[in-house]
Symmetry: C2
Subunit: 334 residues, 2 copies
């Protein structure tokens, strides 16, 4: 009656005059099938418009064709375009390799929660995690043999595969630029120091001082939380404690903008009196006045790299973590 039932191996086998086993071999690229048979199978597949049933494949082979992308609830996902861009880079590369992206936005803290269970159950072939505060769960999964890639640096030195922006290099480049342009007293407004990324940017800043044989005054190092407001407040403190501060490296653009506001409110000019440089090259960096000089990370490339490392792992290749280069974007503020 209805010819709309999807064809199965049985139909292909019949049409091509071979066994189902041979159909499977052809469709999985087994080399040692007779070319004529191979051709017959491929023709039948084409004629009948056959497409594999993924559930059946998954059940029989144990491979689901799915990769989880796990994003911690904690991340300020809700207004940061960062993760969206990374994720779309991941998704594109995975799709090109016939893998699908399963997106999970949840609390990653719980080593025994539903997400952990889901991943342990091998309902995915691998998992890509976004920077996390606690990596206990990830380490557990990795130990259990699940292929894993972390976007952002892991806390511990456990040999987890990761991709990350060159945070150290970014902090270094920004600070160095401020020094080179003549700043004498360069401050830093850090992000979350608990985070590896936050720490590394601070390290880059310190390294510049070290190379100059100097040590930054304690009052030049302020801790923010990546918010506009924290940039604003910490800058006020900086100005109060160091009236002659003439350069600021803010660890993200938002804090940089907050800092600029504070500087101008104090009757000083940017970059005339105080040069400011941010991190991320986000949209506001381009539209603010003065336009913000900043450290750009190629977020899309970050996602692509993460996906590629995952694929390499699935292919059983030996993979090494990658640090993606940054680029200093000079506009008006420094």
């Amino acid at each position: 009656m209805s010819a709309k039932a999807r064809p199965t191996y049985s139909a292909i086998a019949k049409a091509a005059g071979v066994s189902e086993a041979t159909v499977s071999r052809v469709l999985n690229g087994d080399e040692r099938v007779n070319p004529e048979r191979t051709a017959a199978v491929l023709k039948a597949v084409d004629d009948l418009g056959y497409r594999k049933n993924r559930a059946a494949t998954a059940l029989a082979s144990g491979r689901t064709g799915l990769i989880a992308v796990v994003i911690d609830d904690d991340l300020s996902i809700f207004d940061d375009p960062f993760w969206g861009t990374v994720t779309s880079g991941i998704s594109r590369v995975l799709m090109e390799n016939h893998l699908q992206t399963v997106l999970m936005v949840t609390s990653v803290n719980n080593v025994d929660g539903p997400v952990a269970h889901y991943l342990e159950s091998r309902e995915v072939d691998g998992a890509i995690f976004f920077q996390l505060h606690k990596d206990a769960m990830v380490r557990k999964l990795a130990k259990a043999g699940l292929p894993i890639v972390i976007t952002g640096s892991p806390h511990t030195d456990a040999d987890l595969t990761f991709v990350d922006t060159d945070n150290f290099g970014g902090g270094y480049a920004a600070t160095k630029h401020l020094m080179n342009r003549g700043c004498k007293k360069v401050a830093i407004i850090t992000g979350d120091i608990e985070t590896t990324a936050g720490h590394q940017r601070l390290d880059g800043y310190n390294q510049v001082y070290r190379e100059l044989g100097r040590v930054p005054a304690k009052t030049l190092v302020k801790q923010g939380d990546y918010s506009y407001e924290s940039g604003h407040i910490q800058m006020q403190h900086l100005l109060a404690e160091n009236p002659d501060v003439d350069g600021v490296f803010a660890c993200n653009d938002l804090m940089a903008l907050g800092a600029i506001a504070a500087i101008e409110e104090a009757g000083k000019s940017v970059p005339g009196d105080v040069a400011v440089i941010g991190f991320d090259d986000s949209i506001p960096a381009r539209t603010s006045r003065p336009q913000l000089s900043t450290v750009r990370q190629d977020i899309n490339a970050l996602g692509e790299a993460a996906a590629q490392l995952m694929i390499a792992q699935l292919n059983g290749e030996l993979v090494e973590s990658r640090i993606m280069p940054i680029e200093l974007v000079l506009r008006e503020s420094a």
Copy 2:
């Protein structure tokens, strides 16, 4: 030797002293199983730490437990936090209902491309699409019986289920507010008019004029493309053609900021000479100076609503599209 092999129905059935069929019934909430047997099964499940194999379930039942979220390549995803927020709202609600989100970032134009094939093949139980320029593929899939929800309004009046922000209401509220605050000559910088959303915001603007028995001059309606630059340029045109324009509704925040820049460059003040109101309540709206008055949409709720409509469809309920309310956020610019 190794006790780590995952238990299956067979093990549960043996431990509980029932058949596999009964195990299945218990685990799928079939009411008519003897309570004692039910308890025995549940105990066995707990004791053995059993968890279902999704691939097997999918193969046997036809339900994959996966919902696709399809995002068009064309969308300026790469720096718009909008879709990320919506997606995370979707993901959270789906997870609560034991469904996983499959993220697909690709070109949706191709009615016969890999995405279409993937979705047609029933490798997912349903699909949520983001606003699209062409909905041919979506309609095809819907006709094929795939549960579908669209985030953003569909082009045609086909009876596709969708959730959308009240774009008309937003345009109306913004324009009305400008009028109420005393503006005599209110202009609009539209977004992409081809888009339903863009068109609806313009309709809201026109409606205010209509209710006042007026018709906006042609020169007061300018078309932008949602970019900062287009806001800047169109505002320059507006000022040139209408030196006495005193209110502007820009169809997104970015264009509003561009407009403000143009106004200030022309030696006028905001909101003193020209009041400006945007749309989205994005980050820059809060950090710019003057702070931007804007139309806020509850993006997270939008995602949640989309997921809920999907779940309702899966449950066979009759669903109706939803329009989510907007909120006027008044800051400094109007």
